[in-house]
Every structure is written in C-alpha cells, then in structure tokens.
Amino acid sequence: MKDKQKEKRRASALPVLNEPCIELSGNREILIEGGRGVLEYTDEAVRVNTDSMILTVAGRGLNLKCISDSALIISGFITSLRFEA
C-alpha cells in the first residue's frame, strides 16, 4: 500500500522536476531557473529556451539583470508571458 503511494508521488513529481522554475516579483522581475539558453533578446521581448518549451517574456525596457548557467533574471516592465511548446 505504502509502495503504491510512493510510486504515485514519484510519478507526479518527476515531470515537475524537469520543468523550469519561474518566479515573478510583481511584473518587474522574473527569475527563470532551468533555462537552456537565450534565443532572442530585445528591449521588448526575451525568448528563453527550456527543454520542454520556449518561454517568451514580453514587456518594455527589459534587461538581463544576471545570467548564469542555471538561472537568469529579467527585470523591466513585464506585460505578458507566453509558453510555446
């Protein structure tokens, strides 16, 4: 009984662990963990590649506050987020 519950839990957690983790601070800053690279970077939009989808952050005066292997922080006036499979 317990083993079944553990399996269920593992099955539900695994897909989540593979997904990027996104954290928004209002509409001024966004932290994306698990990104695989920046595809496009302009003042109005930043497209970030994750394994499963492409995340587009649209807005005004967007800056890459910090970029490293594991995470990137985008600051500016964020107007929309779009997920493309």
């Binding site: 690279g37 920046v38 970077y41 302009t42 800056n63 890459l64 506050k65 970029i67 490293s68």
Partner: protein
Amino acid sequence: MLLKILRYCRGYVGFTVSGKYPERFLNITARKNIRLWDVQRKDDGFTACMYRSDYRRIRPYARGAGVRLRVGIKRGLPTVIGRYRGRVGLVIGACAFILAVFVMSLFIWSIDITGLDTVSRTRMLDDLRDHGLYIGAFKPAIDSGQVAREIMLEQKEIGWMAVNITGSYASVEIKEEAPAPEVEDISTPCNIKAKSDGQILRIEAMEGETKITEGSGVIKGQLIVSGVRTGEQGASRLVHAQARVYALTKREASFSVPAVSKSLVPNGETAVRKSLLLFGLRIPYRFGAVHSPYSVTSQVVRSPSPLGITLPVGVVNETVSALEYNECELDNNSAQELLTREAQLYEAFSLSDCTVEDREYTLDISDNVYTLHVTYTCVEDIAYQDPIGTDENTDLTPRIVPTEGDE
C-alpha cells in the same frame, strides 16, 4: 550591497558586445559558468559586466560566437592597485596615513570640563593629570571610572563626577557638592554682650531683657541683653537672647614702610622663548635668556580650537623679563600716599562689616621708618552671644503648689 562589495574586491569590467548573434555569446558564457550582470540591449548588441578574471578567458568564445567585444569601464580593487603599482611612494604614504590615524586615535587629544563653579579649572586639570588623564595620554591605559572615583574621594568639593571618553575626546562632567546650610541655634540660653568698647546708638532686641539704655557707654564683655527673663509674677526662665546692638566704636591701625626700600623691578631686558606643543610634548625651537639672575616669565599658549574643541597642538610663547634690585628713597608725600593706599585696602577688607564715620591719619617717621596711624570712628554691631552655661532651657520659676483656699 554585499554583492557590490564583493564585485568591487574581485574587480569587474563593463564591455560592449556587438555582432550578428549576441544571444549566442550570452548562451556560451552561461554554459562556461561565466557570470554576466547588468545586461542592457543596445542597437546592434548589448552591454554587460563581468568579473575581470573571467574577461580574460572569453575572447575565444567571442570569436566563436562571431561578436566583437570592447571594454568600456574597468572598476574594482585590482584596477586601482594596478593603476598605482608604479607609485610606491603613494602607497607608502597612504599606509603611513592610515597608520598615523590609527596611532593618533589611541591618545587623548582634547579634554573638556563642564560644571565647575568654585573649583578652578587649572586645579582640576592638575588633578586629572595626576590620575593619568591629560592631553597626550595613552587611551587604553585610562580607566575613566576609576579616575572619577578617585578624584571624588580626594576632593570634598566635588559631589559627582563622570569622565566620558569618546574617540580621542575626554569630557569631564562635574557637579560640585552643595554646602550644608548653617543651622542657627535658637534654643541654647545665652546673653548678649559687647565685643568691644563703644557708645550704644541703637538696640534691636528680638529676645531677652535689655539691660543697657541707648546712649550709654559699654566696655568689652559687658552684658547688654540678658537671657534670663523674669515674668510678671517673678518667675524667671532662660531664653536664647537675640539682639543687634549698634554702637559707635574706635578702631586703630598703623601701617609702616621703610624710608629706603629695595625692590625688584623690570630693567627692560626681555627674551622670547618659543616651543611647539605636540600631544602634550613641548619641543622648544627658539631659545632666549636674560643676563640678570632674577627674572619673571609670562606664558601664552596658542592652540587652534575648531568647533570649540582645543586641539593638542599649538605654540607656546614665553616672555622672560629681567629684574634687578632698585633702591628708592621715599619722601613724606610718597610715603603718605603709599600708606594711605594700604590703609584704604585695610578698610575695604577688614572693616567691611562696619560703617566708617570718620578717620584720622597721623604720619610720623622714626628710625628711617614711616608709620601711618589711623583712627577709625565706626558704627558697628558689637553684639555677641555668650552661652549661659546650661544644657537645657531650664525654667527657673519656683514651682508653687496651689493649696486649698487660695483664689
């Protein structure tokens, strides 16, 4: 803030990336664990910052990404050190300055004393010096609490004292002891007697029986107001007599001065000595001396006092005036003038509690000494209290026990 300090310590560069695919460059640097920050989009690329050490190894990656890099700014400690690497003197000077500031902060620079009323400032500074607190004293060796406690124990005039040392500035706060008010004895039985001969002008008796009438003469020690009161029924009791007795008195004083006197006077020769005052240390830099064996020295210390705080540096000017013995012979007029001045001083200080009605001066000379005899006619209070000699306010009335039939 901490991040900024760390970045400054490691040193960083701000650079411009231009080329066809600047995003590629971003991805490569991220993959190689090179941290970028403050990335801002420009026309054909972007500007960003990275650590100085990382910038050295990104050139091949930039070439691979097909972008051009151009350094804009260089900031941080390594940059500053690199800039002044050739100037050893500057570095030594900076180190010496820091060291000097550190060393100087270990000493007392200024002492401020507040709350002094009757105790003189010079005496207090001397006391503080005796207990180790002075300009130029080594700060860690001073126990401010102990200094305050010891001075409070030694000086009875000081009721409370605190020594606060802030940086190199010592603030001494003092509250002087309030003297206990004199308690007037109004219970001990006493008489009022005359303390000198004189003629009574007026008697203001508050308590006791007056034995002398106004206008009569009294001799020293004579009873004026008695402390033994007799009631209407003949009963007597002892009281604390109180009275003011104003009388006309005569006082005599004489003042003398030798006709030929020898005194030390300045002969006009002066010399100036100067020294530099540096943290309690006096370094003389100008020497001067006079030929006479007798001299008098006046000293002026000039120290800068910005914001009311006297700094422990300054210049001490000493003026030495030579003195020599001068023999002068007095004539009648100058002797009279000199002795009259002395008599006036005597009158001002010794006869301050009486009104001088008249004074007579007589000058004579004998054995080369001028003597001025002065007779003062004064109006003064000649009353003094003389205790009767019992410890208690005894009722001297004989006790009469009422008997039956008495009305």
